[in-house]
Subunit: 288 residues, 2 copies
Amino acid sequence: MADWIAVEWRGAHLRIWGMSRAGEVRSSREVGASGAEKPTDIVDALTAVLGETPSVPILASGLPALIEDPERGYVPVPCAPPGLANAVKCQGVGLDLWLLPGLRQAQPTDLTKGAETRIKGYLALNPKFDGVICLPEAQTVWAHISAGEIVSFRSFLTSTLRDCLAQSRLLGGAVSADAWDEAAFVEAVAGAMTRPAEMAARLSSLRAAHVLGSADSGQEAARLAGVLIGVELAAARPYWLGQQVALVGEDKLCRAYAAALGAQAVPVERTDADRMTLEGLKAAFAEA
Amino acid sequence: MADWIAVEWRGAHLRIWGMSRAGEVRSSREVGASGAEKPTDIVDALTAVLGETPSVPILASGLPALIEDPERGYVPVPCAPPGLANAVKCQGVGLDLWLLPGLRQAQPTDLTKGAETRIKGYLALNPKFDGVICLPEAQTVWAHISAGEIVSFRSFLTSTLRDCLAQSRLLGGAVSADAWDEAAFVEAVAGAMTRPAEMAARLSSLRAAHVLGSADSGQEAARLAGVLIGVELAAARPYWLGQQVALVGEDKLCRAYAAALGAQAVPVERTDADRMTLEGLKAAFAEA
């Protein structure tokens, strides 16, 4: 039996960990899930997965949009990663369900929803870390960390763009999910960083090369990602230039970012996203 | 009865004009159609729409990918817009079906599929035109025209990106099809032209403003388009700077490009895409 339940809702995935009070994982589940629009969606999903309505406390990350008051749903930076003191209890759902807020930045306007918990986990394991954490996912977040606080951050819809384009009528046929040509990727990153404005034209060239049969599928997939990540790196330069960067994310995407940053001579360290999420939820719950 | 049939297959639309030998339109139809993968798809679609298999010659634009030999499917620039001498007859389909090729450019690698016919139509009506034609659509084409030839061109998947993002999980909710705030659009264009690399971050800000409820739907739709068109204008500067630009495209999209170019003090003239397509097909057929 779990003493409490850690939950993360990210993209189309719901992760559930049954936890002991001491922070040991007693069980874990991962299921596909469409978006949660209201707190009862979480209750329904948990009950369906666990086979019963849980009676222990539940702490959830990645769902700040479900907190009714945006002032409480997003904590303004600079701040320490949100913890139990910032969590908002869901009313009238019949469960002891707490939602962790995201981060908010006024200028440039930006939000996070889940990255803040992974940052919390990373800092729990690396309390003296000062530098930059990059969290590549559908919405990639770059965060400046100093003295245990998130000083500023910027997020990019780079992978959202990639996934959209990979499913589009014009480019869809050109991108295989599996093939990958590392040299083509690094070259595309370099080209895009030099002339970022040409992004939509480079995508058009990619499509033309596909129609003419002048590129293989590994080159095509790598070039699509390379163009988009290169444009992101051009804009995120103030984050990585002269910095040590900790990459926290899914393995394949992090390897691409590591290759792109490595080509700019930026030293990187890679860490698993799910593990950091769990460490962040554990660190938050331990504040009880 | 038609003497010949003019056809355009663009995106998800099939346009069919029944023509007299003198170039008068006897009938016209527009139907929704998914992609044509092989010449018999055109035969099937025409037969379904017309209620019989046509016995008159058919000249089709927008389907260069169906021409088996890419060398004949795309004419290299510089060249005059492809005409009947470049058209390729489909074999073994039981119809007198001719496909017009697109344009091909070696460096930067690029192709057109349909824009070349609208350019032909525009030049048929404006034979002395020297300057730049911009054809905004799913794949926007910018073309330098001199002495009746397409000297060079560049295409951008800007509207493809917009449509992809408008349907995405992260941004989908933020974009209404109808609302439009012109001032927000022009401001977003200017911002994106200044720092084009920040595109994916600006999209993230757009999402954040939507979640926080700090923008109305007209501002959101206009900012999404403005960011993407602004990045395109930054890259297409060699095409429009100091030029007279003829815009050929669908009305709403052309009005957006006209506003963006107008803010850069570029004089523009707007012309309807369907009309230019028909004029281009007529000009090609008249070469018989």
